[in-house]
């Protein structure tokens, strides 16, 4: 498993290819990428703050849980912080498993937990000012399905 919390952009294609190429026992690789959404063209930038130290610990714990529950061959999480422009990739997850059902489920589990249990906070910077993105009740509710 590999985990990276970084300010630098990442190359989604290169990361996905390298992840798939490294697998020896998996038959399925699932990837998900989150990009900065510009609601109606008003976003100047998104600033992502995080809690260095806890971020890595929290993500590693979530990944270890996913690997254990779905017997994953491998998992990858890359999550950026700092100032990002609209359409830039924020983060990606990749999971590898013998069969696709486990790879898909584990990727969804990772996403649900990264949303509400990894210490990141997003702030949208627009022409009219800046606002912290509020956590959604449905994101918290999503955790109960696991």
């Amino acid at each position: 498993m590999r985990l990276s919390v970084q300010t630098a952009p990442f190359d989604l294609g290169a990361e996905a290819n390298a992840f798939a190429a490294a697998q020896t026992t998996a038959g399925a690789v699932v990837t998900f990428t989150g990009i900065v959404r510009d609601n109606g063209g008003t976003l100047s930038a998104m600033e992502i703050e995080h809690y260095p130290g806890m971020t890595e610990r929290a993500i590693a714990a979530i990944m270890e849980e996913a690997i254990r529950r779905w017997s994953l061959a491998d998992a990858l999480v890359i999550h950026r912080h700092g100032r990002l422009a609209a359409q830039e990739p924020i983060m990606m997850v990749a999971t590898a498993a013998p069969h696709r059902a486990d790879a898909f489920a584990a990727a969804e589990f990772l996403m649900d937990y990264l949303k509400s249990r990894a210490p990141f906070w997003k702030k949208e910077i627009g022409a009219d000012g800046a606002a912290w993105v509020a956590a959604k009740d449905e994101d918290e509710a999503a955790l109960t399905r696991w």
């Binding site: 809690y51 249990r117 993105v133």
Partner: protein, 82 residues
């Protein structure tokens, strides 16, 4: 001494990212009461505990947790990762 960290709008309201505090507070709730009594900006930041989360030594915790042995306390709003 305990190190207290603030993130996102909690950091903005209090006006600093971290500080070292000498405290005898037994629980997180007691620490919040101590800080809130200090200055208005703390009272404002801690006004609604429903909209706050706390981590003790980098693990999510709750407001009734004891502070005995804890070195680092962090206050922040619900997380918005992913």
């Amino acid at each position: 001494m305990i190190e207290i960290l603030y993130f996102a709008w909690v950091r903005e309201r209090i006006g600093l990212p971290r500080e070292k505090v000498a405290t005898q507070a037994a629980t997180v709730r007691d620490l919040i009461a101590e800080l809130s009594a200090r200055e208005e900006r703390y009272a404002m930041a801690f006004a609604d505990l429903e909209s706050l989360r706390v981590a003790l030594d980098q693990e999510l915790s709750d407001f009734d947790a004891p502070l005995s042995g804890v070195r680092e306390v962090a206050f922040f709003p619900p997380m918005t990762g992913g």
